[in-house]
């Protein structure tokens, strides 16, 4: 179980049946007060045997609305055909944590949901035994029925649900979740919830949500981050067709909450957006206007020539070790800011009535959104209801709640009327919380045996003094810390006001590329096979490092060995201009190793023929089809980051505005084949949204080197003349 204790509660469902809910025991601030009896539970068993399960976490395409109910259904031992899944509203007292980020949904809910399901099954068995007039220990369950095998008698859950609800709750230690060998649902690719609705165009996304009488809003923010709206031609705008309101929003000085801007509200969204074309705003742009990407690059170059500002980690005598090495490598890497560019632009619906706010939001952190809205609007969190809606992609963009606060603010100006805010693609791309760029000056050396003896990274990133901006840091424990004795990481930070934040596999999506490209450089310098060089680096100790730094080298080695075997590493003859590359990375509790086979022609046109991926995310792959889909998608996502995606800053504003300037991989460019394998280790299941992404960047970059002899040290690669074949 999680650190917070969770108490289950069983009650009678009105109209008959059984309802299982719960509440969190530990009070954490005012919103974690004692929950009333739960009307909106995890499990509802109706007298007709239909079971309603609550998908408690935000669904953004990671499949959690299917996977978490599958855990419940497994422990309940019910027929998936009789299951209906509904999306739960935000109530973290009732449901526990309801965020989607850090690939935490599975590990945070695995024990909890097995306990909920197993508790309900135990009570149903007790009620079933009484109903059948047989000893409870002779009963078992199957497909939503309690069975007494000796007599051949059975009764459905629906028939006994009301009786079960009246029984005393078993103590947690009386409840035994199933043995994995008895699983009938976990490990099977059950039909994805919402799939029929998706292929028939049902209005299931946040952008589709409407209420009668709703008005629609656009929001023009200062193009310079942190700038303020001073005045605007509001009178003219208000006269535009179908426009109902236009006003300046002063903002609260925090772009992650409420950036200053101008809201235009109309009867339909298109009218608001048309009126916006005539909008003239006088902005107070503020100090960020002096920031440019060119300036950042120049500053980094200057900083590389100087001593680092502060140490992150220093093991052994790095300088002496590098000086004494037999082969030395010195290489400078750099990578850009990038945008999340999820397909569904930011949007949110809100209604403010009698001092209470209701929002319908596509958030990855609805609880944080509720807190922020409360603070921005001067409300109590308890006066804000948050409904969760399916989102067209998250990738970390919806960890922020700016769309929710903006919608809430606009709704508060028009009490009683529901409003819907929708950003354009341009709004979305120009006002993101970008994956921060960075610069790494890598120096290292190997000894005569080909072992890495010294490693130094001058990590130039963004922040003030020693404080990194969001998602830009390197940790003292980042690989290969603890694997190389003379190991140093030192940093210097460049101040920025560009908003930054987590993008799928934050930090790892850039660090893995630098670290595994550089390891590849060292392997080639040492004249070693890149896979063998990495196996030697991982060594023979099962776990390396202590506490937070513990790195299960055994799990990673198993992934690396299997991916080498599956890809025929070193065993296949490759055509001229074709090469294979390898990379691995541990992040978000998951271990992944990948190999790419790539060809490069004289015009630097790159074709990725195939990627092999091996992952270890614990003992169970809950939904194999969805799991493979995540890996395939992460690989293609990583390819977009590698080749083309870059956000540049000019005069304190984002230059790129739409997909054509921030290109993602298209079907033609995607690898014809991606082969995915999972190693089921004896570890509790963990998440899959993020860990498959980081290794693909170095795997492809290293394959490009093997194919062409060109080492990619600047992203996106298009800047160095590469393009997809």
């Amino acid at each position: 179980m999680n650190s917070r204790r969770f108490f289950l509660k069983v009650s009678l469902l009105s109209g008959g049946g059984m309802l299982i809910g719960g509440h969190e025991a530990l009070a954490q601030g005012p919103r974690r007060a004692q929950a009333p009896l739960d009307p909106n539970a995890f499990v509802k068993i109706a007298p007709d045997g239909m079971v309603t399960l609550t998908g408690k976490n935000p669904e953004m395409g990671q499949g959690i609305k299917t996977a978490l109910p599958m855990i419940l259904a497994e422990e309940l031992d019910i027929d998936w055909k009789l299951v209906r899944v509904v999306q739960g509203d935000l109530d973290e007292v009732k449901f526990g944590s309801q965020s989607a980020g850090g690939s935490r949904s599975t590990p945070n809910n695995w024990d909890l949901l097995r306990q909920v399901g197993a508790t309900a099954r135990l009570m149903l068995v007790q009620a079933g035994a009484t109903s059948l007039g047989v000893p409870v220990e002779e009963c078992s369950t199957e497909m939503g029925r309690v069975l007494h095998k000796a007599s051949g008698k059975s009764v459905s859950y629906g028939e006994i649900a009301s009786k079960a609800a009246a029984l005393p709750m078993p103590k947690p230690d009386q409840v035994k979740p199933k043995d994995a060998k008895d699983y009938k649902i976990i490990g099977k690719s059950m039909p994805t919830i919402d799939l029929p609705a998706m292929v028939t165009g049902k209005p299931i996304y946040s952008i589709d949500f409407k209420l009668p009488g709703m008005l629609f809003a656009v929001y023009e923010k200062c193009p310079v981050y942190g700038g303020k709206a001073v005045s605007a031609n509001l009178d003219e705008i208000k006269k535009m067709p179908r426009v109902t309101h236009a006003f300046i929003v002063e903002g609260n000085g925090d772009v992650s909450s409420l950036a200053s801007g101008v809201a235009i509200v109309a009867e339909k969204w298109w009218y608001a957006n048309e009126a916006r074309k005539k909008l003239k705003v006088v902005w107070e742009e503020g100090p960020t206007v002096s920031h440019t990407s060119v300036g950042y690059d120049a500053k980094a170059k200057e900083l590389f020539a100087a001593k680092p500002a502060f140490a992150i980690r220093k093991d052994g005598d790095v300088e002496a070790a590098i000086a004494g090495g037999v082969k030395k490598v010195d290489a400078k890497y750099q990578y850009p800011f990038i945008s999340h560019a999820q397909m569904e632009p930011g949007n949110c619906a809100a209604r403010f009535v009698d001092g209470k706010l209701e929002v319908w939001a596509p958030s990855q952190t609805p609880g944080r959104g509720q807190q922020m809205a409360a603070s921005a609007l001067g409300l109590k969190p308890a006066d804000i209801t948050v409904h969760q809606l399916r989102t067209g992609g998250g990738f970390g963009r919806r960890l922020a709640n700016d769309y929710m606060i903006e919608a809430a603010w606009i709704a508060k100006q028009i009490p009683g009327t529901p409003i819907k805010l929708l950003w354009t693609r341009e709004d979305d791309m120009r006002h993101d919380f970008y994956r921060p760029g960075g610069y790494q000056h890598m120096r290292g050396a190997v000894d005569a045996s080909g072992k890495i003896v010294g490693w130094h990274d001058h990590f130039v990133s963004f922040g003030e003094g020693e404080k990194f901006v969001s998602s830009s840091n390197i940790s003292p424990g980042d690989f290969p810390a603890n694997f190389v004795s003379n190991f140093g990481v030192e940093a210097t930070l460049i101040p920025t006001k560009v908003p930054t934040g987590p993008l799928r596999a934050p930090r790892s999506n850039s660090l893995a590329w630098v670290i595994h490209s550089f390891i590849d450089e060292l392997a080639h310098a040492a004249g070693k096979d890149p896979v063998q060089f990495r196996l030697d680096l991982l060594g023979d100790q099962p776990v390396v490092g202590k506490g937070m730094e513990a790195y299960d080298a055994g799990r990673m080695k198993a992934c690396l060995q299997l991916v080498a075997e599956k890809s025929g590493w070193g065993k296949r003859k490759l055509a001229k201009g074709t090469g294979m590359g390898v990379g691995f990375h541990y992040s978000h509790s998951g271990y992944f190793a990948q190999v790419a086979e790539v060809s490069v022609d004289a015009q630097k046109r790159v074709k990725v023929h195939k990627v092999w991926a091996v992952g270890d995310v614990g003992s169970e792959i809950i939904h194999p089809s969805s799991a493979k889909n995540q890996v395939e998608g992460a690989i293609i996502d990583g390819m977009s980051e590698l080749m083309a995606q870059e956000i540049t800053i000019d005069r304190g504003r984002t230059v790129q505005t739409n997909f054509h300037q921030h290109q993602m991989v298209r079907m033609k460019q995607a690898p014809p084949e991606i082969e995915v394998h999972f190693i089921k280790s004896k570890n509790s299941p963990t998440g899959l949204g993020e860990p498959p992404l980081p290794p693909v960047l170095p795997a492809i970059a290293n394959a490009i080197f093997a194919a062409s002899g060109i080492r990619v040290r600047t992203l996106p690669m298009a800047k160095e003349g590469f393009k997809w074949a």
């Binding site: 953004m60 395409g61 028939t200 165009g201 969204w269 999820q342 397909m343 992460a634 293609i636 995607a670």
Partner: protein, 163 residues
């Protein structure tokens, strides 16, 4: 101005400015939200619908230009999910977030209507303008092939009754 068209086999008329894009007519005037807004610039294909059987980008199409035309949207492909492509999409468990998939399906439906057994290259060419941020391309390709097979064994309809 009043603009009349045939939408998913039924006559409809809307009273909107001539330059309102078809996308917003569908989503906000006719309350058919299956067609998605992705970029507003013809970059992503999420808003793809058929005009007389040909895939078009509804975000860039002024509604006046489709007056008198037959328009088919995802809602008209088969509301019950009986089209071979919808069956194949479900069988192959194609989507992740699913936001782009209406556009992918409409582009693929137009392809299969004129080419009942496309090659990989033909599928790639047809769907090159449809972005999938989740990266489900390999599954989309497999699902189009599966739909072509389903249509040949006539287990499912690939024909669009509305066109």
């Amino acid at each position: 101005m009043a603009i009349a068209m045939t939408l998913n086999g039924k006559p409809v008329s809307v009273e909107v400015p001539a330059n309102m894009p078809l996308l917003w007519v569908l989503r906000d005037e006719l309350e058919m939200c299956g067609t998605k807004f992705g970029c507003g610039a013809g970059q992503c294909g999420a808003c793809t619908v058929h005009q007389d059987g040909v895939p078009i980008r509804s975000c860039l199409t002024p509604v006046s230009s489709v007056a008198g035309k037959k328009i088919t949207t995802i809602e008209g492909l088969s509301p019950e999910g009986a089209h071979a492509l919808q069956k194949a999409w479900m069988e192959m468990d194609v989507p992740q977030c699913g936001y782009c998939q209406a556009g992918q399906l409409m582009t693929a439906a137009a392809l299969l209507a004129k080419n009942s057994n496309p090659t990989d290259a033909e599928i790639e060419n047809a769907l090159d303008g449809n972005l999938c941020r989740c990266g489900t391309y390999t599954r989309i390709k497999k699902a189009v092939h599966l739909a072509a097979r389903l249509m040949q064994t006539s287990n499912a309809s690939g024909a669009n009754n509305n066109e």
